[in-house]
Assembly symmetry: C2
Homo-oligomer: 237 residues x 2
Amino acid sequence: MDSGSLKALAFDVFGTVVDWRGSVIREGEALGREKNFGDVDWAAFADAWRGRYAPSMDRVRRGETPWKNLDALHRASLEELLDEFGIEGLTEADKDHLNKAWHRLDPWPDSVEGLKRLKERYTITTLSNGNVALLNNMAKSAGLPWNLILSAEIVRHYKPDPETYLMVPGLLDLRPEQVMLVAAHPSDLRSAQEHGLRTAYVLRPQEWGPDWQPDPPDPSFDINAEDFLELAEKLGA
Amino acid sequence: MDSGSLKALAFDVFGTVVDWRGSVIREGEALGREKNFGDVDWAAFADAWRGRYAPSMDRVRRGETPWKNLDALHRASLEELLDEFGIEGLTEADKDHLNKAWHRLDPWPDSVEGLKRLKERYTITTLSNGNVALLNNMAKSAGLPWNLILSAEIVRHYKPDPETYLMVPGLLDLRPEQVMLVAAHPSDLRSAQEHGLRTAYVLRPQEWGPDWQPDPPDPSFDINAEDFLELAEKLGA
């Protein structure tokens, strides 16, 4: 790929930059120990929480719910899950703390070093359904060196609505082909392609745990990479 | 001031973080030498360009013009000024380059070090009428280590419209009193106060050149400081 005209990399965040599943399990286990919950399958809890993610945003996207940011959607899902998993006795402060586990997700081992290298040559921004406060708190706690934070919250549209992808070249005063979406999810990348952005598929085989397999590399994306260090290598950074 | 609950500092940029006047003069002189313009008073040119800044935004704020970002407003003012100063023979590319002098403004000597110290303890963001691309390009060229970039362009309202000040606690999920506006302009600070933000007045005696004097420190602001290092000191960073 000729990377000469490429100016900005926009990163999907959950699963691509950070390990939401391992981190939510870790946070749940810590809370469980503190509160003596006994047996909770926190892996199943994390998967169920994330399972409600797309459906909750789709209700906003279809206009069935007025705009709610991701903290609010996560919180509504959390209330249902606490019920479902029979977890009782949490205070309002406990629930808020658990909901904000999504603000404290750990980066994949290569994320910070890869982003620092890429930032030397490109503008690096988030392009996430996470709200701005979530993304900023995560950047602070995980050491993610973003140039700026762009979020679905700014345009009040969730991916894959066109407004999200078009926000990046729009606000950075670039042509769509000067922007590349970096994501671990082929469907996100295909939506970005429809709006003229370039695409990099980064495989994250641990995203959904040890028994899961990501889609294989696909030559219809501009770049396929094992991690952000290989991405930096391929982008000359 | 008790800085315990303070979480984020939002910075006015032109004049507060960067020296627009000295930088525009420098850019104009360089262009003049390259193009053999002869005698242009670039200090007067810089002052006249900046003089059109507030009136051009006020036309947008009053709804007389549809939304235009600051690059577009600067460009319209530039066309008038080239005429007024009798500057001829610039290509479209030359004009674009000169207009983007505002993307390449130099920081005051204390800005980068002060921001780095403040970032250790607080979220640091822009809160500027400059558009996002301008602020990102400036951050890249001047080494300004923002956590995020918030701009009038995001809410399509210019300061002092309330939407701009309220955007910061809104997007960062903070209460207004957890946010402090840092600015070299008392009027900006007074508007921020009306919306519950805390305020820090940083004196920039060179903003309008050697023959100009800023307003004196004022105890109605939470902090008065000579520069960002004194600000960091006073904020325990």
